[in-house]
Amino acid sequence: MSDFSAPDVQWGALSPIVVVLGAAVVAVLVEAFVPARLRRTVQLVLALAATAGAILAVALLWGGVKDDGGTKVLGGSVLVDGPTLVLQGTIALLALLSILIIADRTATGEDAFAPSAASVPGSDYEQLSRRLGLRQTEVYPLVLFATGGMLIFPAAGDLLTLFVALEVLSLPLYLLTGMARRRRLLSQEASMKYFLLGAFASALFLFGIVLVYGYCGSLSYAEIASAVQTPSDLDALLLVGSVLILAGLLFKVGAVPFHTWTPDVYQGAPTPITGFMAACTKVAAFGALLRVVYTVFPDLQWDLQVLMWVVAIATMVVGTGIALVQTDMKRILAYSSIAHAGFILTGIVSLDQAGITAVLFYLLVYGAATVGSFGIVWLVREKSADEILGEATHLSQWAGLGRRHPVLALAFAFFLLSFAGIPLTAGFAGKFGVFSAAVAGGDWPLALIGVLASSAAAFFYVRIIVLMFFTGPSGERDVLVGDGGGASTAAYVPPVPVVIGSDGTVAEMEPVGQVAVVTRPDEALAVLEGAEVAHGVTTTVVRSEGPALIAITVCVAITAILGVAPSGIVSAISHVAHFLP
């Protein structure tokens, strides 16, 4: 009987993961033992401290990894090298910002989550829980678990760890998706879809692991990579297995044809969670994909190249194309995130050293703008006569926002410009990086398609900006005010909140007894046809407790700084952008 020897674990190198997962476990205990009154405060402090601690841990590890190239921990199951640290730092930072938005509440104390997610929407039970002022604080441990999984995902050194990390990050997200306070049915439907499709993808992924294990007899990246080098007559097994593994990862990044869940889930999930999911999941999944493509299957390059090409092109084209015909803000951002997945893939396909740096930088840039923009979507609400309702996500409801809330609208416009890749925003530097990496890797047609897709994508980003700043909510030029006597006089009407009716007309809400009818809706409002907004509902920016504004400000700052002077961060990343073999 062999002796059991305790594994030698380098806890220090694992500290970012340990801090977050440890905090998640503590958070579960907090749910059990801390009185309800204090629970939210404690959970919030714990979550912020955990993510900040992870950032700190990454910073402490940075110097060592820069010098020695990184360490293999747990017998090679977790690889702590430069890209791991960059990705973990990015994920922790974005998670921290997301938690600020998740924690934000309206002045009346409403957050984004149903008080009791298990109750049937509209039921007596739900009314009761609302009256009792129940609050959902399990969100924080769930977010921390998901974050912990994301921190492991790009660091995994064997396929099993990769799979476990995938599940750890996915399961909490399925739950979080179904917890929206508003539009519960949509939210629960999204949760269900996400779970079913996620399970489907996980199964494919697991099947791929099995096939690759059958070929190599190992799950470790390093051993698979060396086994791939020796040819055998079982190549088909290896190829199908690797395609299935890539499919599982491509599902997570939302690449075509595995993207179908993205718009429905992004739309249905509580908006702060959408921001968290869109930013952090994508960073983690691209990190894992990057490592797999660069270190596990580099010798399959000639075989898998065609797959990556097809997927990258399809992702860019479909993401951009469908985004052009959307009218819901969250769905537009969802398809935009699909298109961005395509752009990032061009940087991965290159298999070029510059590609690693470019992708890592792009992920940071994209994540900051995504968290910020969903944070703003979260603040722009519908409002009935006396009550704040859910997010105003229809495009028409954003018309003229720039006139009433110029600062917030400017911030949103800035994020959109970054998405579009306009110079002096971080998005430009990011796109420039991945496209030039693609060209350096000899994939110039891919870069060309990327640039064309970007220019088409710029259209729908700029359309939103036009809508916010240059389209009046009341069509000020054309408003005719008819008084009760029937004698109509043309008069200047100060901007008042209006809604766009389902028939495309604009109706002014405020003055009772006077109806303003726009006979000739503005040409720019043509996109608004089909609006399904109930009469009596206006758009407003909710007055919140403030943490979301802090997060948005930080995101603007990151986007601006990385846009004007990206070289510092880029060179810092490029110094450590080497995978452990």
């Binding site: 499709l197 489907f200 395609v243 065609v306 951009t320 194309g321 985004a323």
Partner: protein, 662 residues
């Protein structure tokens, strides 16, 4: 932005900056040269204050403008005195303001060159500028935007000083554009009046044409010499071909800025600006920048005889052109503008003659700056007293009512005629003498250009006397005021008359003082070089001929406009008169040759853009939208179809991978 940085650098670093004369270690008076950047910075700051603080400065803003301009003059005078203390071969001082542009092979330091040539301009600009600032305080008193006017004037002074003090062509170009901007803003100062706004735009566009020349010249310099600093370019000894190309491009720039043929059409319309602007910018200083450019680039032109010939031809054409147009204009300001064009033609002609003429071009520029500014201010005074009338046919006999204006204007008039000992005599006569010197041993040039200059002097005497007599002598032909009342011409307030008096002293004595003992020649000679030559006729004959031509012109004008009755309604006139009234059809020519074809070109380009470019873009944009419309149908909302699409996609990918592999 770069230049702002340079100015900021000037503010902070100048006391410590490397200030040293070129090729000389004697630092006597070096401290004074540190004032040179302040010459530019002070009016610039004043303009910034006036523009940024806006209406809050309305009450005292104009005095701040006067003060800034005056401070610049005092500093300039201090620098000038320090410079006089140096031996004449050590009067070129470069003040480095730090690295400006450093990109690849292009490394340029922003810097200031203080030498006799630039100081001549600096003194003229700040002195005349300050006088006109003072004049404007009264002239613009009833304008609600007087503060903005002074801000623009200060901006102009700063830009003009940048132009003349720059030690590289690029910084010069910056000042060049700055004066263009100030000129545009000031011509269109009353832009609520559409024709005035149009005039401003016309000036701007015509100047752009010339500016392209300067930009191309900059490019040529960089490609051939690797630098655009004076230190490199002016000591480069280029081949004749390169020098000719650069020279012609510089001439194009000069034509735009100095209203020379064929880019002269904007100057007459530029009289839309307030009269002090006409005096300062469109007579005394800015329009002479072209002359400065050519004289500053003397080494390039010296190496390019063909370019020099073109310069002389342009000058000769313009001086006749302006003179002929001046004879037919009834608008006092437009007549003066035509005269300005003609006088600058003299300067350009002199500059084209090479070392024999450079000094006299600048000399005439200085005396012209005095007497023409004086006459413009006089015209402003007349307008002030005559309810803003400008038609000389409605003047007459005003000398009796406006004594100070009358006498100061008379000083300017005698000066421009070149009657000894008024200042114009000393400068213009020298140019005519220089034009009569054979160039390259070719006598025909001496006869042609000398002859043109001589005839021009005669015509000048005619039209300037016509202007003077129609305004101040003869019978009253006054029309009613705009409000229907009778005209009551009166002398202007003191703030307006004093600058006129000072300028009149300049008109009378400046030439005499500067010419005696060849002071001015000695002063400029180290920079521009100077040679003497023998005219084809003896000097005394030339002087006699010139004076004879002037007297003939004067007497003709006297008979026709002083002792006989001037019709209030302009007679039909000869064919030449009618042509001159419309500026010798220059607008029609421009319209037919450039504007109309340009319109057709833009129309066809717009059409091509709509049909071709836009059509392509719109067509292409249908593609992604179409893709979106088709693929969105897959997005049914049913999770089963999502899973199916994933599976189909996966199978396709697997098949593709396997197919490629085998």
């Amino acid at each position: 932005m770069h230049t702002l940085t340079a100015f900021a650098a000037a503010l902070h670093t100048v006391p410590a900056a490397a200030i040293g004369p070129a090729g000389d270690t004697d630092l006597s008076g070096a401290g004074v040269y540190a004032l040179a950047p302040a010459l530019i910075v002070v009016p610039l700051l004043s303009a910034a204050v006036l523009l940024l603080l806006g209406r809050r400065t309305d009450r005292w803003g104009h005095w701040l403008g006067v003060l800034a301009s005056g401070a610049s003059f005092v500093a300039a005078a201090a620098v000038f005195l320090a410079m006089l203390g140096r031996p004449s071969d050590q009067r070129v001082i470069d003040v480095n303001l730090g690295d400006w542009i450093n990109a690849g092979a292009f490394d340029l330091h922003a810097g200031i060159r203080v030498d006799p040539l630039s100081m001549t301009f600096v003194l003229l600009v700040t002195f005349v500028g300050t006088l006109i600032h003072v004049y404007s305080v009264a002239y613009m008193e009833h304008d609600t935007d007087r503060r903005r006017f002074f801000a623009y004037l200060n901006l102009f002074v700063a830009a003009m000083l940048t132009l003349v003090l720059a030690n590289s062509y690029l910084l010069l170009f910056f000042g060049w554009e700055g004066v263009g901007l100030a000129s545009y803003l000031l011509i269109g100062f009353w832009n609520h009046n559409t024709p005035y706004a149009v005039a401003a735009k016309k000036a701007f566009v015509a100047n752009r044409v010339g500016d392209v020349g300067l930009v191309i010249a900059l490019g040529l310099m960089f490609s051939h010499f690797g630098s655009v600093s004076f230190a490199t370019v002016l000591n480069a000894h280029p081949s004749e071909g390169v020098a000719t190309a650069i020279g012609l491009m510089l001439l194009l720039a000069a034509c735009g800025k100095s209203a020379q043929f064929p880019l002269q059409s904007w100057l007459g319309d530029a009289m839309a600006g307030p009269t002090p602007v006409s005096a300062l910018i469109h007579a005394a200083t800015m329009v002479t920048a072209g002359v400065y450019l050519i004289v500053r680039s003397a080494p390039i032109f010296n190496a390019a005889p063909d370019a020099q010939l073109v310069v002389v031809v342009v000058g000769a054409i313009t001086l006749l052109f302006g003179a002929i147009v001046g004879c037919a204009k009834d608008d006092i300001k437009k007549a003066l503008a035509a005269s300005t064009m003609s006088q600058i033609g003299y300067m350009i002609l002199a500059a084209g003659l090479g070392p024999i003429g450079y000094v006299f071009a600048i000399f005439h520029l200085v005396t012209h700056g005095f007497f023409k500014a004086g006459m413009f201010l006089g015209a402003g005074s007349v307008m002030h007293g005559m309810d803003d009338q400008v038609d000389m046919r409605n003047f007459g006999g005003l000398g009796r009512y406006m004594k100070i204006t009358y006498f100061t204007f008379m000083a300017g008039w005698l000066a421009i005629l070149g009657i000894p000992p008024f200042s114009g005599y000393f400068s213009k006569d020298k140019i005519i003498e220089a034009a009569f010197v054979p160039q390259n041993g070719e006598d025909w040039r001496a006869w042609v250009f000398g002859g043109v200059a001589l005839i021009g002097a005669g015509i000048t005497a005619f039209y300037m006397s016509r202007l003077f007599f129609m305004t101040f002598e003869g019978q009253k032909r006054w029309s009613k005021k705009r409000d229907g009342g009778d005209q009551h011409p009166h002398e202007a307030p003191r703030l307006m008359t004093w600058p006129m008096i000072v300028l009149a002293f300049g008109s009378v004595f400046a030439g005499m003082i500067l010419a005696s003992g060849s002071r001015f020649v000695d002063w400029l000679e180290p920079v521009t070089g100077h040679t003497e030559g023998d005219p084809v006729l003896p000097t005394w004959v030339l002087i006699a001929l010139t004076l004879a031509a002037v007297v003939v012109g004067l007497v003709l004008a006297w008979r026709r406009y002083a002792i006989s009755t001037v019709p209030v309604v302009p007679p039909v006139g000869t064919l030449l008169t009618r042509a001159a009234r419309v500026d010798l059809y220059q607008d029609s020519v421009n319209n037919g040759l450039l504007v109309e074809p340009g319109k057709h070109l833009t129309r066809s380009l717009v059409y091509a853009d709509r049909a071709g470019v836009d059509g392509t873009v719109v067509g292409i944009s249908r593609l992604p939208v179409g893709i979106g419309e088709v693929t969105r149908k897959i997005q049914t909302g049913f999770v089963r179809s999502y899973a199916a699409s994933m599976l189909v996609g996966l199978v396709v990918l697997v098949v593709v991978v396997l197919a490629v592999q085998s």
